[in-house]
Amino acid sequence: MKLLIKNGRVIDPASKTDETLDILIENGQIAAIDSRIDIKDAEIVDASRLVVAPGFIDMHVHLREPGQEYKEDIASGSLAAARGGFTSICCMPNTRPPNDNSGITEYLLTEAKKRAVVNIFPIAAITRGLAGEELTDMADLSQAGAVAFSDDGQPLSNSLVMRRALEYSLLLDKLIIDHCEDKNLSAGGAMHEGEISIRLGLPGIPAAAEEIMIARDLILAESTRSRIHIAHISTKGGIELVRLAKKKGINITAEVTPHHLILSDEYLVNYDPNFKVNPPLRSQEHRQALIEGLKDGTIDTIATDHAPHAPEEKEVEFDQAPFGLIGLETAVSLMLDRFVHKNIISLEKLIHLMSFQPAQLLKLKNKGRIAIGADADLTILNLRKEVVVDVNKFASKSRNCPFHGWKLRGSVAMTIVGGKIVYRA
């Protein structure tokens, strides 16, 4: 089966390409790229007035399988990803049971092959049972297909365990991803600590809870000469630390979510649990620092931290509602509308952040670029089309999205995974 994508504006940050080209796909790979390709036996996609980008990769997704399939599962999560323009997603290990042994990793990959429409890359736990004490069989997990390691959701408090994980990761050359949160400082918190939390009478999560752990991590990354990746960075102090560490040559990278870039703690004044997320939506000052970090390269990638919860879990008292919001189906439109169209970052930069960079960080071969021989994972964008976010149309099983009703300019026109069209607007 051949697929020919004609007349698209092809943007490939890796090769610094930005021109109108035809792309021929054969056997799931890119077979030819040229200003004009004419082939008779191919299915043709007319991409004129559309942007053709290397497939977007979300390295922070909670698929909830195994164990909490009522929130999301591999099939629904992958459909949500396809609808949101993601061709590859990484699933976090805090499932029930957690992905802390190769059996679970293999299960995820086997099921993904059967039921997922996008590529699924499992991230395995750093410690057994996410308990923060004993390392998992990291080599075995790596062998089984884990692309990175993280105890996301259960911050790794013990610095010695983190040190050992970083050292051991040198053997595997796999990324360690840390959810930076000092649990003592954040205990009982429901939102960002600041003027608004004081006003609303909600227990706060101070910025220091994140910043202290980022400081620890960069010190350990330096002393162990390992790679560390900061998940969902949300604080000004965190950005300053990562910027400084990069300047010193420490191997540190960071991701930011669209919601931390766009929303702030002011949105919590109505106590809507859909805005309750961890790390919390911070104040404007922190948000501005994240945008600066995005522009100057301190931030390496955009990840959604897609965290589905059932409506009955969210329709409760604010302080008792679970943390998390879903992001797969809104991320691209949000970034186009709020950042590209407002000229805060260029379209090429966005594609770099959402495709090339995560492929590099996770060392995903043949992904994140449009080149002959690369996997035919493509995200096709319609920059002009306006969409209104409607949670009732989501492919995700959950509805905990704070952007319901938002009107956004720029959307996903088509998602192609391994040469197969998995979503068409």
């Binding site: 600041g194 003027e195 004081i198 006003r199 609303l200 009478g201 909600l202 227990p203 109505n270 106590y271 809507d272 649990p273 009955e312 329709e315 409760v316 008292e317 604010f318 302080d319 008792q320």
Partner: protein, 318 residues
């Protein structure tokens, strides 16, 4: 009662003092004056809210506030039902939304909500058709308490503007302190908050308060002293080292009271920890208006019920 007073109160719910204009606060206080008159009659009942149903929905035990609302509703001839649900939705296994929808199915007019979690009345108001009255939400607001406090202050001082009001204790966790701060600032009083720095974050100064950690300094020239209840559990979270030390630093004693104006009044939202935040003799002294506060609570709650339920149908000005 002047029926035109309701025109100046255009809210559908009473969720907090923060949402009110100074003129609306004055409307409630003035309405409460006429309500107090009803309570002084031999037959303490008027037919104003006959046929209306009020539900006391209390997720946190509070005999005083619940009884106060109950009396207020009864004096206006409304029917009142008490629902005391001791636990949160997570423990109960029913969502808060479902709990409220079940009550609403019984054709009620107003929900008086008390809950240990901040924001619950706001969350309920976001989907509920009945009038919602916040009877204390977590560490956020307790609007009727602040209103009855203002009513009491006005009763003794004839004004609120320009008075120095000192609020002492666990400010961080106090919904009474927040509602009073909002209200007193809107009406032009000077508000000094006092307590240990662990329980008095500097953000309160952005809300118009003066911050003073030292009780003696705070009390100088005070017209009104409001003491807050200190919960012993706070010690376990290291907000203060011991009750002994807390008492030593923040208990209102006769010696400390001398620093305030001679005619200063002492208030407390109750229940009192005698000998911890306030010397027992002061709680019963002539300067104490603590029982007057309780008395005034009924009139304030009658005024709130009247202004919300006695008016017209739902308006957009909420």
């Amino acid at each position: 009662m002047n029926p035109e007073t309701s025109l100046e109160f255009r809210h559908y719910h009473l969720l907090g003092i923060e949402d009110l204009e100074a003129s609306e606060i004055m409307t409630i206080l003035d309405t409460a004056e006429s309500m107090a008159e009803i309570s002084r009659r031999d037959i303490k009942k008027v037919p104003t809210l006959r046929g209306k149903t009020v539900v006391n929905l209390f997720f946190e035990p509070s005999t005083r506030t619940r009884s106060s609302f109950e009396l207020a509703a009864k004096r206006l001839s409304a029917d009142i039902v008490n629902f005391s649900l001791p636990t949160s939705s997570v423990v109960k296994g029913e969502t808060l939304k479902d709990t409220v929808r079940n009550l609403e199915a019984m054709a009620i007019d107003a929900l008086v909500v008390r809950h240990a979690s901040s924001g619950v009345p706001h969350f309920i108001a976001s989907f509920c058709q009945s009038h919602v009255i916040n009877a204390g939400d977590g560490t956020h607001e307790h609007p009727t308490q602040a209103l009855l406090d203002a009513y009491t202050i006005r009763q003794y001082k004839k004004r609120i503007k320009g008075l120095k009001v000192v609020i002492v204790g666990d400010i961080l966790h106090s919904r009474v302190a927040r509602s009073n701060l909002f209200l007193l600032r809107k009406l032009g009083a000077e508000v000094v908050l006092c307590g240990p720095p662990t329980l008095l974050p500097p953000e309160f100064s952005k809300m118009g308060a003066k911050i003073e950690y030292n009780l003696e300094k705070a009390l100088i020239g005070a017209d009104v002293i409001m003491m807050l209840r200190i919960q012993r559990e706070r010690q376990k979270a290291n907000f203060f080292p011991s009750i002994r030390e807390y008492r030593h630093l923040y208990c209102l004693t006769p010696e400390r009271l001398k620093l305030a104006k001679k005619e200063a009044i002492i208030m407390h939202p109750g229940p009192i920890n005698r000998g911890i935040e306030i010397d027992s003799s002061l709680a019963d002294s002539v300067q104490s208006v603590i029982l007057k506060q309780v008395e005034n609570g009924v009139a304030i709650r009658m005024a709130v019920l009247y202004l919300l339920l006695g008016g017209k149908e739902r308006e957009t000005a909420d």
